[in-house]
């Protein structure tokens, strides 16, 4: 399942909704990313996360397909927020459901790797008196 939304999520509820569909799931590895207070020695107040939604859905579907080729997954979940997010807010949840631990761990790491590299989201960090776009290069 893929969700791209402004609102916060409850990871217990979101994971349960999927877990309840599958009695053969023994392992769920999940990753939650948060807005940190400090980045690159600057005090962050909030971020504005911009998204290219249609592309994000398409790219998330692709990466989940790739993960399914490489690991035995029963199900998977990506929730990525966008819009204004204060310090300490959740940004992203990735959860991978499998019978055995190794598959869920490795696929969750794989999906996060991809997501960081290719998912079309852009962070605009707000400090006390200015704001700045974050990019890998530039």
């Amino acid at each position: 399942m893929i969700k791209i939304q402004k609102k916060d999520f409850n990871s217990e509820e979101e994971i349960n909704k999927i877990k309840n569909l599958h009695s053969n799931v023994g392992a769920v590895t999940s990753f939650i990313g948060y807005v940190r207070e400090e980045n690159d020695y600057k005090k962050v107040r909030s971020i504005n996360l911009e998204v290219y939604k249609e592309m994000a859905y398409k790219q998330f579907e692709k990466i989940i397909s790739k993960a399914n080729l490489n690991w035995k997954l029963v199900d998977s979940l990506i929730i990525h927020r966008y819009g204004k997010l204060n310090v300490n807010s959740k940004i992203v949840l990735v959860a991978c459901f499998s019978s055995h631990r190794k598959d869920s761990f490795e696929s969750c790491n794989f999906i996060m790797d991809y997501l960081k590299k290719d998912a079309p989201f852009w962070k605009n960090e707000f400090y006390n008196n200015k704001n700045e776009w974050l990019t890998n290069s530039n």
Binding site: M55, K58, I91, V92, D118, P120, F121, W122, L134, T135
Partner: protein
């Protein structure tokens, strides 16, 4: 074709998206030339290969033919997650 801009590229173009219809733009390289002429500030970023291009929501690294109903996005490196 529809052109979409994101993050600081959008700050430079001052548009989220625009429709460009020119018989002179038949492929991505020709679109890049057109964009630089319209937004000269983007030139140095284009030259440094900082910008990313997506055609119909897929990353495109090389030159490809463009069709009238294509959606082309131009944006800086991503920072999600």
């Amino acid at each position: 074709m529809k052109i979409k801009y994101f993050a600081w590229v959008k700050d430079i173009t001052n548009h989220e998206e625009e429709n460009i219809n020119s018989i002179q733009i038949k492929n991505l390289d020709e679109l890049k030339v057109f964009i630089i002429e319209k937004y000269p500030t983007l030139k140095k970023h284009m030259e440094k290969k900082i910008l990313r291009f997506a055609v119909n929501q897929e990353y495109i690294m090389k030159n490809i033919t463009l069709k009238d109903n294509d959606e082309i996005a131009i944006f800086p490196p991503v920072s999600g997650g």
